[in-house]
């Protein structure tokens, strides 16, 4: 790597960032630190400020107040533009020069990043556009544009990737493929910030989630941390000897709520702190319990908690 070594903590830092367009406040009091190698997923409804946050980090807009630093510099100033070489961006609903062919578009962007034409061909192959490379971009379908967008974002093996709703318009197979590509970049040490609505897709991939609501970060952390912050109940399901369900149900104390019961199974919920005592209690029940499942925390639960809940 010929880029100057950047201190780990300096990769991205936002401090007390506010952004207003006219009277409308789009972002308020954003504080964010991103370390090298992290994969951050931004979630939030439309208009929550995810795209604006990315634009600030890309230097496309300037904050109304507060400071933004990317790779150690303010991205909005010319001096840091050279560092954009280490940066890949896939905008939401990406647009290209329609009169150019896919190959021409990619080569144009490649020249700006001083990337070779061979590299372009590899990327076209990688995103499955090699056959369509001679066609004008104006004739491309939504999915093909998205793939071309992905190819341009990956030019020059970026250290820092900004992907705004990257998988919209991709079919399931391509989505899978796309995440494999991202994983490969991560193995080489790339850092990425992805905004997504497809919660189940990104769940397993992110180091950290940032939940945004009306221009504010309402929660941030790993899935487990968010789960605790949300104080969502731990859910378990146990299978018991058929017919014994109701008698087993009577043997739980009041801390445990039984959310569902039928002849041979019970669904249980308890607060996080009661989890281990509950497990010990279940194991003490003896042979009547055949099986036990602890439901893993799910992002959509956390998400809907923070979206609907009274989180300040």
């Amino acid at each position: 790597m010929d880029e100057p070594v950047i201190k780990n903590t300096d990769f991205i830092s936002m401090q007390n960032v506010c952004k207003r367009y006219g009277n409308e406040t789009v972002l308020r009091d954003i504080n964010l630190q991103v370390k090298a190698g992290e994969c951050i997923v931004l979630v939030g409804h439309n208009g929550a400020g995810k795209t604006t946050l990315m634009k600030l980090l890309l230097g496309l807009t300037k904050p109304t107040s507060g400071s933004v630093k990317v790779l150690g510099d303010d991205p909005a100033f010319n001096a840091s533009v050279a560092k954009h070489k280490a940066l890949g961006y896939l905008p939401e609903s990406v647009a290209f020069y329609d009169a150019m062919t896919g190959r021409e578009v990619l080569r144009f962007y490649a020249r700006l990043k001083a990337v070779s034409n061979d590299e372009c061909e590899k990327l076209l192959e990688l995103v499955g556009l090699a056959d369509a490379a001679k066609r004008k971009v104006g004739t491309y379908s939504k999915g093909m544009r998205q793939r071309l967008g992905l190819a341009q974002a990956m030019l020059g093996e970026p250290q820092l990737l900004f992907l705004d709703e990257p998988t919209t318009g991709l079919d399931p197979l391509l989505r899978q493929h796309f995440y494999e590509l991202i994983d490969d970049l991560h193995k080489e040490g790339a850092t990425s910030i992805i905004s997504s609505h497809a919660l189940n897709e990104v769940e397993a991939r992110a180091n950290r989630f940032i939940i945004m609501k009306s221009g504010v970060i309402v929660a941030s952390g790993t899935l487990e941390e968010l789960y605790q912050q949300a104080a969502l109940p731990v859910r378990m399901k146990i299978s018991v000897t058929p017919g014994e369900a109701s008698s087993v149900a009577q043997r739980f104390n009041a801390d445990v709520s039984i959310t569902h019961i039928n002849n041979e199974s019970l669904s249980l919920a308890c607060i996080t702190g009661e989890k281990m005592p509950l497990i010990r209690h279940i194991t003490s029940l003896g042979d009547v319990v055949n099986d036990m499942q602890i439901m893993p925390p799910r992002l959509d639960e956390v998400y809907s908690h923070f979206m609907n809940g009274d989180a300040s």
């Binding site: 010319n78 533009v81 954009h84 009169a99």
Partner: protein, 275 residues
């Protein structure tokens, strides 16, 4: 510099791809030929050099046509990319905003350069061929080609200013037509009107000179009609320009200022623009 070149080449290729350049070459070339062939008829090619006559008629036509072509080329340059969303992506690449504007400018001037060189230059070669190698007056013709390019650059720069200022492409197109009307038609008409109404001659000769000098189109006209003796005698404008203190250099500087000022203003507005 390399970035400027990459961006300029893209514009140039766009111009080739959509046959813009071909159309402009055809238009300029056929006009130049038609005017030169027709132009030689009334004078009977006795006393006046044919190329000089062509310079007069061609520059009088270029003053209308070239600004229109230049504005058509440039009005969409920035607002079109804002609207389509391609500008946003472009600016996340290692290019500065001034490089984007200057690269486009370089590219668009190159397109005009190719069109003028091939169109007017090609016509010149044909004329020389027809007159059995008579090259007398080529300097004035070459100067006309150069000043035409500068005139084009002025309106490309003005087109960018429109393009960065307006919110939508449609209003950019309207504003471009407005700018064309104002600079090419209205300004002189208003000036004439004022002169006609000004019976007491309140407007001094000097003021009139200045008012003509500050217009890029008038500067272009005067440059072409007065700089070379042959042309200025044929056009009947001999002495007027020098009398009014309009030296060639001043006229050139005025036109350059008309490039630099709108370009700088566009750049300033672009720097402030949020995407």
């Amino acid at each position: 510099m390399k970035m400027l070149w990459i961006l300029a080449v893209k514009e140039l290729r766009d111009g080739l791809r959509n046959r813009w350049i071909a159309a402009a070459i055809f238009l300029l070339g056929s006009l130049a030929l038609a005017l030169s062939l027709l132009g030689s008829a009334p004078t009977g090619s006795v006393s006046v050099n044919e190329l000089d006559i062509t310079v007069i008629s061609l520059s009088s036509l270029s003053v209308y046509l070239i600004p229109l072509i230049a504005l058509m080329l440039s009005f969409d340059a920035l607002v079109g990319e804002f609207e389509r969303g391609t500008m946003m992506l472009l600016l996340t690449y290692p290019v500065t905003r001034w490089q984007v504007i200057m690269g486009k400018f370089l590219g668009h001037v190159l397109i005009l350069f190719v069109a003028i060189l091939a169109g007017y230059g090609g016509a010149l070669l044909i004329m020389i061929f027809i007159t059995n190698g008579n090259t007398e007056g080529w300097q004035a013709y070459a100067m006309m080609m150069l000043t035409t390019l500068i005139l084009g650059a002025v309106f490309i720069a003005l087109g960018y200013l429109i393009s960065v200022y307006v919110k939508e492409r449609a209003s950019a197109a309207g504003a471009a037509i407005g700018v064309w009307l104002m600079f090419v038609v209205m300004y002189d008409l208003i000036l004439f009107g004022v002169l006609l109404l000004d019976e007491q001659q309140l407007m001094s000769q000097q003021l009139l000179s200045i008012l003509m000098l500050i217009s890029p189109t008038d500067s272009y006209r005067i440059l072409n009609l007065s700089l070379f003796e042959g042309v200025s005698q044929a056009s009947g404008i001999a002495g007027i320009a020098s009398q009014a203190g309009m030296s060639g250099i001043v006229l050139f500087l005025v036109m350059l200022a008309w490039i630099i000022l709108p370009l700088s203003a566009s750049l300033l507005l672009f720097q402030r623009r949020e995407l």
